[in-house]
Each structure stands twice: as C-alpha cells, then as structure tokens.
C-alpha cells in the first residue's frame, strides 16, 4: 500500500496540471512519492505511470537515473558524512568511525529503529568548513565527534524536527503554482499568446 495517498493524489493532479505534457511532471511526482514514504516503492512507480500515461518501465528508467531517489526503505534521517580530501584531512574518517560506533551500523546501513541511515559521501562543496556532513541534505559544518553525538541526541529527541524534516521532504513550504500562472495542459506548439500574468512584458 504505497501508492500515493488520496491527499497526495490531489497534489499530484495539481502538479500534472502545470505542464503542457503530463509526463513532464514525473520528477516532481517522484519527489512527492519519496516524501510520502521516504523512498519510492514499486507500487508508487506503477501509480505514477498511470497518472502521467507512461509505462512503469519508463518511470523506473527515469527514476533510477537520479542518485537521490531511493528505492529501498531508508532511515528517517540520512546522515551523509563527507570523506573527500579536505574532510579526510581534518578527521572525517574518525568521525565516520565514531558515527558507526554510536549508531551501531556500518556505513550504508540503517539502524534497527529506522531512524538513521549512515552513508559515505563524496565532496559536498563545503571544504572550507571541513569536516562536514549532511542530514537529509541539511549541512552541519566543522563537526567534531562531540557535535555528532549532540546532533544524534537532538535528532532522536525530536528537537530538530522543525529544521530537518524526514527524508524525502524537500521543503516545509510546498511549491504552489496558481492555475492562472501555470502553462497548463496545452501543447507548446499550440500556444499563440503569452500568458496573461506576464502583462505583455515579455514576448513569446
């Protein structure tokens, strides 16, 4: 039962309506599916295929192209510890060992309670702030082992739930495009005039 929920199906319909061609909505919809369960299940891919009128093989092909879409259950918090040059020089390995010990899983594993997934990461473009890590792609900079312990304590206690939502949630505020500002289900080659909200400021 991990097709989109009724509530998410309504959101999906709104997302689809933004695009001239239904299948263009596929990637936002994959994010929606990932938001729902933390990962994208097969049932969700079948559902998305039905929604935008492509085969599930095409959904699968599109989804697997992207690294940040997950297809297996994943922890609520994905902890990516950078291990590239600057971070490695400033103690990333020790940090990883500490994290492994603390969480009781090897890098790549998920804790039994489903809270944390620990992973190696390549450079996260914060070399000046090494060693760094990301929790659900939110940065933590110049992380010491003490910082890491505190971070895990806070996450477990739910103190950071405002700042760091569960894996799969892109942002607290969902993008909303009013129908009159969306292109809508019109084939681009059939569009003859600029949308009204441009107020004639730009030509097509």
């Amino acid at each position: 039962m991990s097709r989109l929920t009724d509530k998410n199906s309504v959101i999906a319909k709104e997302i689809i309506a933004r695009y001239p061609r239904q299948k263009s909505a596929l990637i936002p919809l994959l994010h929606l599916a990932q938001e729902q369960t933390g990962y994208i299940s097969r049932e969700a891919m079948v559902h998305l295929g039905e929604l935008v009128g492509v085969t599930s093989a095409e959904v699968y092909g599109t989804a697997t192209f992207y690294e940040m879409f997950r297809f297996e259950p994943i922890g609520k918090y994905l902890v990516n510890i950078c291990g590239t040059m600057s971070c490695a020089l400033l103690g990333a390995h020790e940090l990883m060992h500490h994290a492994e010990k603390r969480l009781g899983v090897k890098a790549g594993g998920t804790t039994q309670d489903g809270m944390f997934t620990l992973a190696h990461a390549e450079c996260q473009a914060a070399c000046t702030e090494a060693p760094c890590l990301q929790v659900n792609y939110r940065y933590r900079l110049r992380v010491s082992t003490t910082d890491l312990d505190k971070l895990i304590d806070d996450l477990e206690a739910g103190k950071l739930s405002e700042e760091i939502p569960a894996h799969g949630v892109l942002a607290k505020v969902r993008q909303h495009i009013a129908p009159d500002r969306a292109v809508g289900a019109v084939a681009p080659e059939l569009v003859s005039e600029a949308p009204a909200w441009l107020n004639g400021k730009a030509a097509l």
Binding site: S56, A57, Y60
Partner: protein
C-alpha cells in the same frame, strides 16, 4: 528511393536532390537525408551500431564518425545525425576518421566480455565484424570488466545478457517508437546504465523478437534459437509468412534439415523488416514431434497408420459413394492454409467432381464480395489522410499491419477514425475512436459521419476503410451495413480487406469459396447437421475447434457419415475421421501465397516434409487419379502455369515464375458495391451484457499450442467487463462468475478492463481451460448474456 540524375538531359532538376561527395566520388542524395543513408548507396561502408534506417537516429554509439569539409578544415561529425548539404565533402576513411573509429570501438569493447565462441551472435555479429574491419585489433584495457548476472529472462521468449550490451538504444527505441510498448528502458546512470524492464514485469511485447533481430551484439537472444545452431551451418531461403494474411517477408533458416529461426526481411510495401512474435516463433510447430507423418485410416481401434495408396483409395471410395447421392452431399472446408497452387489444385478437383460447396472461411470472416470493392494496398492505406478502422484489433490479429498503421498515424499525416466495440491496440493512436454496442454500428457510423468535423476530415483527401470482422458474436451483416453507411457518405473510399487467415484471399481467388449459389461454411454445417452431407473434406481446417458455434458443429459432425482430413496434426475434428492424409507444412513446400491486399509472393521450401507428408496440391492430383480424374499436372511449375493462365486475378504473375521480394499485386477491378440497408436494431435488456468475442495473438491455435516457446503465453479464458460493471456484478477482479444465456452457461473468472464499455463484455476466443463457445449461437444477430455471482 529513386534518385533522378539532374545532370541527365531532358530532366528537370529535382529541387530535392543534393549533390555531395563521399570519398571523392559524387553521390546524389535527397534533401534531409543523413550522410550514412547516402553512403549506404555507395561502396563505402560506414561502421555503425545504433543507426537503423527504420528508426529515428540517436547518435548513441558514435561509431559512424566521418570527416566533413568545413571552411575551417575537416571536422568530425556523426554521420547518422548529420544531414547532407549541397556541395558537402565527406571522407569516411582518413587517418583521423580511422583513429576515431578505432577509439570508439576500443571503448565499446572495454567492457564487452568477448565470449564470442559461446555467443549465439558469433559469426553474424556486427560488433565482431566491425571490430575486425574497423577496430584497433588490440585493447589497452587490462582491468577487470564489468560483471552482471549472465542472461536473465526479460520475457517468456527473450533473454538479456547485460555484459554484452553496448547500449545502442536499438531495442528500447524499437519498443517505444515502432511497437509502442516501452516496457524496456535504460535504467541507472553512467557505468551502471543497463537495459531493464520494470522489476518483475516482463517485456511482454508482441513484437519482442524484433529487438533480438536488430540487436547488434549478442545481448538479446531468443529462447527458440539459443545454442541451436551457428550462423555458418545455417541454410536459408526467403519466403513469405503465412501465419496471418499480412504476408511478411521472412528468411527461413534451418540447420540439419530442422527449422531454427525466422528473420524479418525489409521490404517497403509490407513489413519493413518487422515480424510479430507469433509469426517469428511458431515455426517450432513444424518441428513438433506431434506432426502427422503417415496417412491414417479408421480402424476398430481408432486411427491406424496405413500406406498412401490404401489411404487414397479409401478416400476416393468414400467420395465416390457420397457423390452417388448427388454432388450436394460432399463439401470441402478449408484451403486457406496452403499456397495458391494448393487451393487451385483442390478447386480444380472439386470443379471436375462437381462439388460446389466449399469455403475457406469458417463463418468468422466476411463475404468474399469485399475483394471486389475498390481496393487499397497497405501503402495506400498508410498514405491516406483518413484511415477508417472497421476491423478487428489489428494488434491482436494482424500485428504487423498494426505497426504500419500506427506508424502512419504517429509519424505521417494519416488520421485514424476508429469504429470499435471496445478499445483496441490502435485506440491510443486514433484521432477519434467511436465505440458502439455490437449491432448498432451502422447507426453509430451514420451519425458520426454526418457531423461537421467528420465531413471536414473526409474532404481532406483519400479515405481507406480497413475492413474486417471485429466480433464473432454478432452477425457479419452488421459490419457490412456499417460499411454501407461509410460508402454512402464517402463513395470513393477504398477498402483494405483484413480477413485474417493466411491465404484466404488466394483461396477465394482460385475458387475456394461457395460456387454457384452454394452456401457458406455455416450453411454447409447446418446442412450437415440436418444429415444432408455424406462426406466432409477438411483441407487444413478444424471446424470443431474453430467454428464459433460449437453446438452446430458438433451436431454436424455427428450426422456426417464420413470425414476426410488433410492436415499436419491430429486435431479435434479429424480425431474420428475416416481418412487422414498428412500434409506438408509451411516451409516444407514451394508455391505462392496472396496477402490481404492481394500481393502474390512466393513461399519456398526449406526443409524436407516430415515423414511421408505431401503438399496439398500433390494430394489433390493423386486423389484425382484415384477418382479417375486427371488434373493434367505433373509438376508445380505446370500447376502454376495452369493457375495463372486460367485465373484472371493471377494473370499478373503469368510467365513470371520468379517472383521478387515485393511480389506482384493481384489484378482486381472494382465490380461490387455495398449499399445502405435499413437495419433492425436489437435492444438489450439492461440487466444483460452484450458479448464481444474476438481473437488475441496467442490463442489455442494449432501452430501456437505446438510451439514450446509460445504455449506458456496462451492465457486462460476470462471475461472482461468495465470496472463499473464489475462493481455492479458485486465481485472483485478475478472472481469466478457464471455467464449464461437461456439454459446454457459457463463458469470463468471475470476481470475489470477499462477498454471495455459499459453494458458489454469481452470474451477472448479460443483460450485455454474454459470453452466459451457454448454461449455462441451463430444464427442469432447478437449475443446478450447474464453475468451472475456463483451461489
């Protein structure tokens, strides 16, 4: 493509001709043509893997790099993505080009396993060939190659070896662009990219075999051919597939006198190189151990093997005895399975014996009169601005014609106007799809064509009606009435008749159709059921399994004194026959066949007929001699001569024993008209469901169920209704329900299907486990059934 030489005298320069130079030789190309396509008409071969002339170019493999002169000097371009331009100078074999091509090949081979000695493709592999002709000869790659699980089955038929794959996009492009079944796709990224289906969902395309044929490496292999033969010990001949009436050209390949593989041949007018999986793989039935290998005669202990002379004498005696009671007491059913010559020989024999009751269709087609309407070819159909479908689901019954019509609607300017009782394979590509309840099509067609939108569309240009029998549970006259409405609204519309049996058009042309006002197959069976037929000759027909009305045909066989069957297998109709004569199968005999558009092309013998089986025409002449009739035919050539000189339609291939790949079109003059008729509508009780019975690609046909690779794909009988109706019946998907009419009923699973409209129910014909025919009554106009929960 014909290119007019603009330099020749008296020829107006063709504005679409572009002059280019390939390796210092002038070449004429067409505007918009790709360099690689132009080069293919010269002797200079450009290596390639992903380019395929019948699909769009993607520039995936980069193997076809060539140099083109530019103002800044020579530039490397991908010749499958670069169109020709006036004055273009192309070089395909300079040192730079060679270095680039060798580089690409070295990279393609970096992860390729080089297991050619155990690879089925070895010996006919473009990668192997081009590694020799355009490759560096040595690899600098010493690291471990990429590993995947060796072949995984991606469908019942196709196996995928991802290690061998070079990611050319041919199979995925075919599945998406040509077949419209994108069930395989590139997945993952970079080094991990691979062709894959959705997890646990097979590549169940009706056209999957084509991906195996066009795979330029050994990544895709098909179960029937895996490890069966090597290309160098294959013998082959070109022939025409007779599984259905599209008439695709095939190469028939055998090894040690056993069929091993069919490959599609690219001819412009018909199949473009494609085949459906049924036509490609049902050759396995020819190799079947169940084949009849000797004549059989009825004995106290059932059918017993006998000699040809005894069998023929016995058959002759039976026919002679029956004829003593009048020529009306003998009837022949079948004749569409064999070649034109086979049917002609049997028709000649029947003529001489005075047997007028003969029919090559079994009450499931349309009157042969439709061949006398203004005809369109497949090419004309696909060039028409409006294609009206009043036909069975082409994807199921005439699969390669589906590919052609789909292509016309998707990539060319044709628009499909579909009239169909349920959604078909072409519905997604139709411009307008109009559904109707069986029995109401004439009214629906009339009302639709009266609308302004349709009137405007019709005026745009040629209109071709693809005409066939969409529903076995309704009287054929409904289709003809609907056609009458179309021809009334569009008098100059042409017809593409799509009767599905392999050579039905040829059989009808040579006279294998009711003669002198005799009745058709159903009339013959009705007479037989009344005890008026003494001898029934089955020429490759199995009425007990094939005629929609099982009750009628059972009564007919009960009252018929003797049955003579000429067939390749023991089937339900000849199990109790008096004489069974073994016939040579397709690929075991030579002759000509006629496809649905009237294209006569040759079929060629490739292997020795099994046992003592003989071609139908030879059986006819031998049986004639036993009956004291000399057909004056001692060879196939003589028979062909005789046929082309005596049958007007075949005059186009007279004195033309060698028929080329494209074949020749039958000579046909429009002589018939179908006019409007008033139709009495049969109302449906709102509690009942109107039946739509039609065939699907894999059914219990003899050639499918005796092909080991296909038999597993045949689905079990089920009835399909609209999801809303399923709720009304009050059961969930897959529940067994009772389907009944009057006092007859059957129990089978019911499934929801959004392509079935409310108030109708779709029953696929001739599937396994439950025989649905007790529901059908061939004399009634339409069939309305009750669907009830089991108590």
């Amino acid at each position: 493509m014909t290119i007019v030489d603009p330099t020749a005298e008296n020829i107006v320069a063709d504005p679409n001709v572009v002059n280019i130079t390939i390796n210092d030789k002038p070449v004429l190309a067409r505007k918009g043509e790709l360099i690689i396509a132009a080069a293919d008409r010269t002797d200079d071969f450009i290596p390639r893997f992903c380019y395929h002339p019948r699909m769009s170019s993607v520039g995936m493999c980069r193997q076809c790099l060539v140099e083109v002169e530019t103002p800044r000097g020579p530039m490397m371009v991908v010749s499958c993505m670069t169109p020709v331009a006036e004055g273009q100078i192309v070089r395909t074999a300079t040192d730079t080009v060679k270095k680039a091509q060798e580089g690409v090949l070295e990279l393609l081979l970096a992860n390729h396993p080089l297991d050619c000695p155990v690879c089925d493709k070895g010996g006919e592999c473009p990668l192997q060939d081009q590694a020799f002709s355009h490759g560096p000869g040595e690899s600098r790659f010493v690291e471990e190659k990429r590993h995947y699980e060796k072949p995984i089955a991606i469908s019942e038929i196709v196996y995928l070896d991802r290690e061998r794959c070079i990611l050319c996009d041919r199979c995925t492009r075919f599945a998406d662009e040509v077949a419209g079944d994108p069930l395989i796709s590139f997945t993952s990224r970079g080094n991990d990219t691979q062709v894959m289906t959705f997890p646990e969902e097979p590549f169940s395309s009706y056209f999957s075999g084509n991906t195996v044929q066009i795979c330029p490496v050994g990544a895709l292999t098909a179960k029937p051919y895996r490890f069966k033969a090597r290309p160098w010990d294959i013998e082959q001949t070109e022939s025409t597939c007779t599984s259905c009436s599209v008439g695709c050209r095939v190469v028939v390949q055998s090894s040690r006198d056993e069929l091993v593989r069919f490959q599609g041949v690219d001819i412009d007018p018909v199949n473009w190189g494609w085949l459906c999986d049924r036509g490609r793989y049902n050759f396995e039935s020819v190799n079947s151990t169940e084949r009849l290998i000797a004549p059989l005669i009825k004995s106290d202990s059932g059918l017993a093997i006998t000699s040809w002379s005894v069998a023929l004498e016995s058959a002759a005696r039976i026919i002679r005895t029956a004829l003593n009671s009048g020529t009306d007491s003998v009837a022949i059913l079948g004749g569409a399975r064999g070649t034109n010559e086979d049917a002609f020989a049997w028709a000649s024999l029947a003529d001489q014996l005075g047997i007028t009751q003969r029919d090559s269709q079994l009450g499931d087609g349309l009157t042969p009169e439709i061949f006398n309407l203004a005809q369109a070819t497949i090419d004309e159909t696909c060039a028409a601005s409006t294609i009206i479908l009043l036909s069975p689901d082409l994807k199921e019954e005439l699969p390669v014609l589906y590919l052609r019509v789909r292509d016309a609607a998707q990539k060319r300017k044709s628009r499909i106007l579909e009239f169909s009782p349920r959604d078909s394979g072409l519905t997604p590509y139709a411009w307008r799809s109009v559904s109707f309840e069986p029995g109401r099509q004439a009214q629906v067609v009339r009302e639709t064509l009266e609308t302004q939108e349709m009137q405007e569309q019709i005026r745009l240009g040629e209109v071709v009606v693809v005409l066939g029998r969409a529903n076995l549970a309704e009287n054929e006259s409904f289709t003809l009435h609907a056609l009458g409405e179309i021809l009334h609204a569009i008098p100059n519309a042409k017809i593409l008749p799509v009767l599905r049996r392999g050579n039905v058009r040829g059989a009808v042309a040579v006279g294998f159709t009711p003669q002198k006002n005799s009745g058709d197959a159903i009339d013959i069976l009705t007479k037989a059921a009344a005890g008026k037929i003494e001898c029934l000759i089955l020429l490759g027909a199995d009425p007990l399994a094939d005629v929609a009305d099982s009750d009628l045909v059972a009564r007919a066989f009960n009252r018929t004194r003797s049955v003579i069957s000429i067939d390749t297998f023991i089937n339900s109709s000849n199990r109790n026959a008096d004489v069974v004569l073994p016939a040579a199968a397709f690929t075991e005999k030579t002759g000509t066949t006629t496809n649905l558009e009237g294209r006569i092309s040759n079929v060629t013998q490739q292997i020795t007929p099994r046992g003592t089986s003989r071609p139908d025409w030879m059986i006819a002449t031998e049986l004639g001699l036993s009956l004291g009739i000399d057909l004056e035919v001692s060879s196939l050539d003589e028979l062909h001569q005789k046929m082309t000189s005596s049958i007007a339609e075949f005059s186009s291939c007279a004195n033309n024993p060698v028929i080329n790949s494209d074949g020749v079109l039958i000579v046909n003059e429009a002589s018939a008209t179908i006019s409007r008729a008033s139709v009495v509508l049969v109302d449906r009780n709102s509690y009942s469901y109107r039946l739509i019975v039609s065939r699907t690609m894999y059914d219990n046909a003899q050639s499918t169920k005796t092909s080991p690779s296909l038999v597993g794909i045949i689905t079990k009988s089920a009835i399909y209704v609209n999801p809303l109706d399923l709720a009304r019946i009050g059961v969930v998907d897959g529940t067994n329900i009772r389907v009944g009419i009057d006092d007859k009923s059957i129990v089978l699973p019911v499934n929801a299907h959004s392509g079935v409209h409310r108030g109708t129910a779709w029953l696929p014909y001739n599937h396994t486990s439950v025989d649905i025919r007790p529901l059908l009554d061939i004399t009634s106009d339409v069939v309305d059934v009750r669907i009830e929960q089991l108590r």
